[in-house]
Amino acid sequence: MNKLLIAFVLSLFALAFGESAFAQAASDAASAAAPAAPMAAASGASAAEAASAAASTPVANKGDVAWMIVATALVIMMSVPALALFYGGLVRSKNMLSVLMQVFVTFSMIVVLWCIYGYSLAFSEGNAFFGGFDRLFMKDMFNPKDGTFAMAATFSKGVYIPELLFLAFQATFAAITCCLIVGAFAERMKFSAVLAFMVLWFTFSYAPIAHMVWFWMGPDAYSAKEVVDATNAKAGFIWQMGALDFAGGTVVHINAAVAGLVGAFMIGKRIGYGRESFTPHSLTLTMVGAALLWVGWFGFNAGSALEAGNTAVLAFINTFSATSAAVLAWCIGEAVFKGKASMLGAASGAVAGLVAITPACGNVGLMGAIVIGFIAGFACLWGVTGLKRMLGADDSLDVFGVHGVGGIVGALLTGVFNNQALGGPGLVGDWVTATVSSVPIMDQLWIQFKGVVITIVWSGVVSLIAYKIVDMTIGLRVSEEDEREGLDITAHGETAYHN
């Protein structure tokens, strides 16, 4: 019932505010006739600069647009069906549909929230921690009067993509990040509580972390030496520190993993944990899910270049090789320490490698990627065995063991293998001239470490409060009777399999 109310209120808000924003956009269409890239246009450059930017309205390259549409669709496939199947196969058959539903509906809900306010909170100009409200209800992104679209900056000077496309691409990131958390409290959380928690966590953890790590004014904003400091100051807090996170090691994986771990602690263990058999009901579906994740991840990682260019190619091959290395590492680890290499191990290794290469893919060199994948395979195997026993939480599907450990390994090693001395591409040290340079390894590692710690603490605190609020209002957990019966029947009134 609660979830229905939430949904109704949200849709009412959407309608009311959407209408007014629409009307407003139409009324001052004249003034917004040349919607240049918000990040670039609002650069604080001189009036002459702004005028010249307006005069040469940026035009998106069709190749970039085509690639980013494909990449966005690939990331949608990563959540529904890939992640849903990967997780679904790992639970008992009586909870299969509940996992599929939690992923499916969380994904859809976050996309709607992203369009309404999430994008604005994350990717419009605000302070170092939160964005502003300039893009509430996707305001000014499409001008129906003259059919023009606002443009968003990429990582190359003078290269733009339609901002709506950037919004859509980033929507899939926000949504899959929330879906990742589902694995930690699978098989025992109320459906309504899942959705309520997601709204809170998305608003107060995902959006600000995305803003802190990824928001900046774009390369064209750095028009002259004099504006560098002012332009830097408008970027997100972690971005200003110089932390590298190509496709979301901190924003997506560490962020979600910490929320999952806190949830596993707060909700408690599943009934029968450690005594009854919790064997995965279909490793076949888990393998299908993991394989689809791998394919989709090329959109996630290579798409994060925002252009169909060389950086996308670097991210693509690194995503390919690191993942393969991690599969091998996990299987070798299992064969040596447990005696047998397993299908679940291979699938888990693939995800571990994909997670670890996510922050690194466009930021490290070719052999660096393989090393990162290899280390991640072993590290995450430890994450789901040794570390899991140490933590003592019932993280049902090892969200922390894989995404947390893999994310941290990847985020830190990005700082190592970014260096040109180790074959990495280096980073743009001066955006005015777009000059590439390398930061000393220990310095960059320290910056990466700070980014990781901030993310862990921020997500941990927000999660704790969000779970507490949901627990006090809706209640986190289903009844013992319902848990034994299975959430498919008790929460959704249907059964996955009929034999």
């Binding site: 058999s277 919790f278 047998k340 789901v384 040794g386 026993r389």
Partner: protein, 112 residues
């Protein structure tokens, strides 16, 4: 009349069926079952979690046969289902009081 109940390894089902047909057994009933004997179970490992599987899958074959061929039936099943390794299964023989063919109403040996 005897009821011969054999518990065998699942992959031996086809061989047993062929051996029984060869000696003139007209029909059998097959059920997928689980159980344990001296073979015991095995352990399965999913990420860190280890589970002991106590009950192993077997196939139960039931055949109602005439007293005259019961020894040959037993021999046939034994020969077809044997691998020589632990877990080959067992054969139980019990006396059958009555048999009725539902379609015709025949009883006893005629209904076999």
């Amino acid at each position: 009349m005897k009821m011969v109940t054999a518990i065998v390894k699942p992959f031996k089902l086809d061989e047993v069926r062929e051996a029984l047909s060869a000696i003139g057994v007209q029909g059998v009933t097959v059920t997928e079952v689980k159980g344990f004997g001296r073979q015991k179970g095995h352990t399965e490992l999913y990420r860190g979690a280890e589970y002991v599987v106590d009950f192993l899958p077997k196939v139960k074959i039931e055949a109602a046969v005439d007293d005259a061929i019961v020894d040959r039936v037993i021999e046939a099943i034994e020969a077809a289902a044997r691998t020589g390794k632990i877990g080959d299964g067992k054969i139980f023989v019990s006396t059958l009081e009555q048999v009725v063919r539902i379609r015709t109403g025949e009883t006893g040996k005629d209904a076999l």
